[in-house]
Amino acid sequence: MSLFADGYARRALIEALLVGALCGLVGVHVVLRKLSFFTMAMTHATFPGVVLAALVGVDLLLGSGLFGVFVVLGVSWLSTRPRSDSAAAVGVVLSAGFALGVALLSAQAGFTRDLSAFLVGSIVTVQTGDLVKTALVLVAVGLTLALVGKELVFGAFDRGGLVAAGYPAGRLDLLLLLLIQLTVVSSVPAVGTIQAVALIVAPAATARLWSDRIAPTTVLAVLLGMASGVVGLAVSQAYAVAAGAAIVLAACGFFMLSVMVAPLVRRRPVPVGVG
């Protein structure tokens, strides 16, 4: 672990572990509900929020979180329009968000440097304050999922049943979307807006290959998320490549490996995906 001897490297390691755990937790729900494209759109559309927050000087989490709420509302409003389906709505919101972010940034000096930090992350520059924020988000998300995780899973498999059982299904859906948004915003400093979706989806999808039950899948997803962070950071330090991208590649590597190995190891056939 001599790679992580310096202060900045140790902070990066802690951030990677925290973000990995957070993404793994939320990722399970994203994968169960097939919300990858939505998450993707959130990551892109959050981008102008990050830029705006940086320009105005508000806290990044707060600025992009607020913006994310608008995005969620925009997507759900557009998808209910006649002749407009959710894929197109997400596509439009995604394009709008990204273009707005780029246009806003281009009006600033120091355009390219800031831009790439937002886009692909710069984990080695995280401060202690960022770590505290990420830890708080992790605790909040963990508590929320501990409280309503069962209901969310119920809704993922049988939304009609959830409504019939008297749960506020709409509000639960919205809560999950907000949790995803919070996770995306928190992982921006580590891996950047474009790649946050990888850290959310890949560990959970990998865990899903190894288990059909929610609890082990969740534990495994969290562990894989954290492992991706550590491995990615180590690789990035050893070979001087972008840290965020190395973390993402580590997460994807675990996935590829599991796609090949899991069916050989597990006796029961892995469930065939929809589509």
Binding site: F98, Q195, V248, G273
Partner: protein, 281 residues
Amino acid sequence: MRYLIEPFGSPFMQRALAEALLLGAVAAVVSVFVVLRRLAFVSDVLTHTVFPGVVIGFVVAGTGGIVWGALVFAVLSAVLITVLAARSRVTEDASMAIVLTGFFAVGVVLVSRQTSFTSDLTAFLFGRILTVDRQQLVMTAVLGAAVLLLLGLLGKELLFRAFDPAGAEARGYRVLVLDLVLNLAVALVVVAAVRAVGTVLVIALLVVPGAAGRLLSDRLAGIALVAVGTALLAGWLGLVASWQASVNHELRLASGATVVLVLVLLYGAAAGIAALRKVRT
């Protein structure tokens, strides 16, 4: 009126306009299929998977190599995505998201080895429409013609498959091949657009015009007409807005992003018209 034509006095703006209109028209035609087949996510995946090809092409052969590197990765990823969508062990959306970010991360890793990391990254991601040269215009025209030819030859079959996949299969069409053709068309548009508007903003050209057309019409010809019209108008007005803002109002606006923003505004206008129509009827 002068306000709208004035920016195109210089040759570089004329070339930028020609590129924007060419790309807009071709992408708009493809976007009709993208919207009908709900391929927005697939398009987004393709825009990102082309990225490492752009970087490798640039590293190996300089700016001239970008298009070729992109082309190789476009074809590769179109095949990969078609196969993944057809038979995936994980749910389709998760595997797509992983392919997307995995490829993209490879690109970022490669760029991060370059000394001019950040400025290269921005150029690859957002393109430089104002530096388009004659050769690039020809390349765009050739790729555009290839895409239109592909869609012209197989348009009927692609539509059949879009509305009734089981029927198309029963009639003996190879659905997998048709899907591959459409994914290739999308990928080629991404390649054509990569140097001008970059990999990230192409998604707008591939989704928004078709979605706007869909809002205003139920007929294919109508959708295509609105889509192409929207894209052309956005290309023109976007460049005007970005030029006027930069020159007369001292507000630098990235041209590619401005074109996309105008496109989204036009989509908003289409949504407004659609809503008004609904109220009247």
